[in-house]
Subunit: 416 residues, 2 copies
């Protein structure tokens, strides 16, 4: 499915009659809007002339100090000087790609990986090599094979792009043991790591994993964002990078859009300075945990045999594999007809694979709507599998399950 | 002077004891901050969940409608569908360069031209060819010679980059006759035009010139910004482009930073929807006219013979030429010692020329401070010319003028 097709899908998915598991929008409605109103008023009242003026390309020092504190909440140490404020995590990924990648250069990434990360790499004509994941994240033994193979060919990847925590779209995290192994391999093969961490603070149990940056600070470029801990509408992310890389990135950033918005930067820094932001993250976490539990419970009950999926311990995403004979591009179009939406898998790979995969995001619908959407989706899959069986025979396709004439009534879900 | 040296200069120039004619910051202090506070409150109170969420890459339709109205204030017709909201004019220039320019491709630009425009072209490794300006803007006869020469070589420029109104840094506007000739040449040689128009509404007499877009809509990509008509701190600009170009630019934009900030977009659209924005532009215009008059009067009185400068009829800038023997990179460093700052000329050319030129921007200091800064700068130039005369003989260098031991007291300037 092309970028424009995905855009069309998102547009349709936003219709109210459709239960959308498509876009990865955070549940900003869980924010305290009166507090946000106070924050924006305060910014204009106390420092309007600064908020409405140009700023500097690296971003405001005051904001960078707060972002260092946010990194500290995951046990990551950094200095404000190392940080560059970016227009969300996406600009960070694009700047890093622009800085390092010439056409044809190799970049290693998890397969599947973030669509926007692939987009940034594609715009620099990178040669993206995927390393498969399992329930413990990137399979580092496969990474080692790939690094060794490249070395034999006299080539070297520009960097390894990883989303170690609650990966988008995989819904899994890199195990602690594998983090250490990844760091060792990066050292041994002299490769940089791009650590993209939008979801690290959204573990349902509040668990934090060791950051790659903490293991190998000199060869890690770290990307953060406030999109999932505060709000994406302020378009505020950051890069923490070693000084020579930071300086190059600032110049690229100035060519790209001069400087971040002073207004949104000051809104973010005033949010972190004056509001109980840790409690806000706790409440986001509770919201997503409740939705994840509703989603997993519904999937367990409603999916036909032969369908498998990951079981997230944080953030927004479930990655699903459907049986042979079903193409998820086609399935996504049919799902719209059943008033449910998801993102088909091919967009999450640079190499055209993923036709039997799809991403479900549960961050937006209520637990009741999640149950409803999964029920509709389960019905579609039963019907599709019956079709597959009719065409290809029974091999691998399940028997249709007896279903009630009407969908089961929606049930509210409690966090377990 | 390198980009990092210019940044260091700007940092020093922001010290309070220095009269800065360096950065092109608009006079945002002329805004009604209570009105802005009302606007930001209204955005969060009425639609906080939308303002804090992701948006679409092309930008909000509601904002694009208002931007069409702003274009209409200069007699430019457009449809909201044609527009892409960008992170200021800079992102627009960068996206257009990324879309059209492969390394080594030729782009024609005025010489001098906007530093950020050169930066965007440099990041795409464009081969920038300058066309000189005079008091009526780009010299279109020279443009014709260049286009003909390229045609003979079997080459073609990707586009002609022009800032037709109150050019940065030239401080001049393209004459009406030359606009028509530019349009004819673009047609005859089948070249696109990138029309960058940050200052069109800031003519001191309220005069508007015909837009290149109105003359040749199918081959013009138009760039606007609210940085000079509202505030740069919201980082909001736009591109109006023919549909096939627009679609490519939206994809590039999504790879670059996903989407514009919903919050800043809604602040801008609410500003235009609820506030007397035309009157605000009138008052900006009055502020800049008063400053320009103070600046020109002071220059007429304080500059040594042999120094020449443009006489702006709008916006922020005066472009100065100093006598032979003075290098404006060196002069800028010495000026800091005299507590006055400007931007030396080389940064405004892609080819290293401009060592005898400099830009003075009068948008920030008060008329009193302008007089003070010009007096300091005049003293420096007299001293430098005396040095030049001592080294090279009297040829071309003026006699020092008798000056009072203390600077003349500052005089407030009235608009003439």
């Amino acid at each position: 499915m092309s970028a424009s097709a995905i855009r069309a899908l998102f547009a349709v998915a936003s219709r109210p009659e459709i239960v959308s598991f498509a876009g990865g929008n955070p549940a900003v409605e869980a924010l305290d809007f009166e507090a946000v109103e106070d924050v924006v008023r305060q910014v204009i009242r106390d420092a309007g002339a600064t908020a409405l003026q140009y700023g500097v390309g690296q971003g405001r020092p005051e904001l960078r100090e707060h972002l260092v504190t946010v990194m500290g909440a995951e046990g990551i140490t950094a200095h404000a000087d190392e940080l560059i404020v970016t227009a969300g995590g996406q600009q960070a990924l694009e700047l890093v790609a622009s800085c390092f990648v010439d056409p044809g250069d190799i970049v290693i990434a998890e397969g599947p990986t973030y669509v926007g990360g692939i987009g940034a790499l594609a715009s620099c004509q990178a040669d993206v090599r995927h390393v498969a994941m399992d329930d413990h994240g990137m399979q580092v033994d496969q990474l080692e094979d790939l690094l060794a193979e490249l070395q034999r060919e006299g080539r070297r990847a520009k960097y390894i792009y990883t989303i170690p925590n609650h990966q988008n779209p995989g819904g899994v995290s890199l195990s602690v043991e594998r983090r250490h192994r990844l760091a060792e391999l990066a050292d041994a093969y002299d490769v940089m790591v791009l650590e993209d961490n939008p979801y690290g603070l959204l573990d349902f149990a509040g668990k934090v994993y060791p950051s790659i940056r903490e293991l190998i600070p000199d060869r890690t470029i770290y990307v953060g964002t406030v999109s999932k801990t505060f709000a994406p509408g302020v378009r505020t992310g950051w890069i923490a990078a070693p000084a020579p890389v930071r300086d190059k990135l600032v110049l690229l950033r100035e060519a790209a859009d001069l400087c971040p918005s002073s207004l949104t930067q000051m809104v973010v820094e005033t949010w972190f300075a004056t509001q109980p932001w840790r409690e806000q993250i706790d409440s986001f976490r509770d919201v997503y945990r409740e939705k994840a539990e509703a989603m997993l419970r519904a999937l367990d009950e409603e999916m036909p045999p032969g369908v498998s999926w990951t079981r997230p311990s944080g953030a927004f995403y479930i990655w699903m594999t459907v049986p042979a004979g079903i193409d998820t591009d086609d399935l996504a179009a049919k799902a719209i007809g059943r008033r449910v939406a998801f993102v088909p898998g091919r967009g999450f790979y640079a190499d055209g694979s993923g036709g039997d995969r799809l991403r479900l995001c549960y961050s937006q619908p209520s637990p009741e709507r999640i149950r409803e959407g999964v029920t509709r989706f389960g019905e579609l899959l039963y019907d599709e599998l019956a079709l597959v069986r009719a065409v290809y025979g029974t091999h691998g396709a399940p028997e249709p399950r007896a279903r009630p004439a009407d969908p089961a009534p929606s049930r509210g879900q409690e966090p377990g």
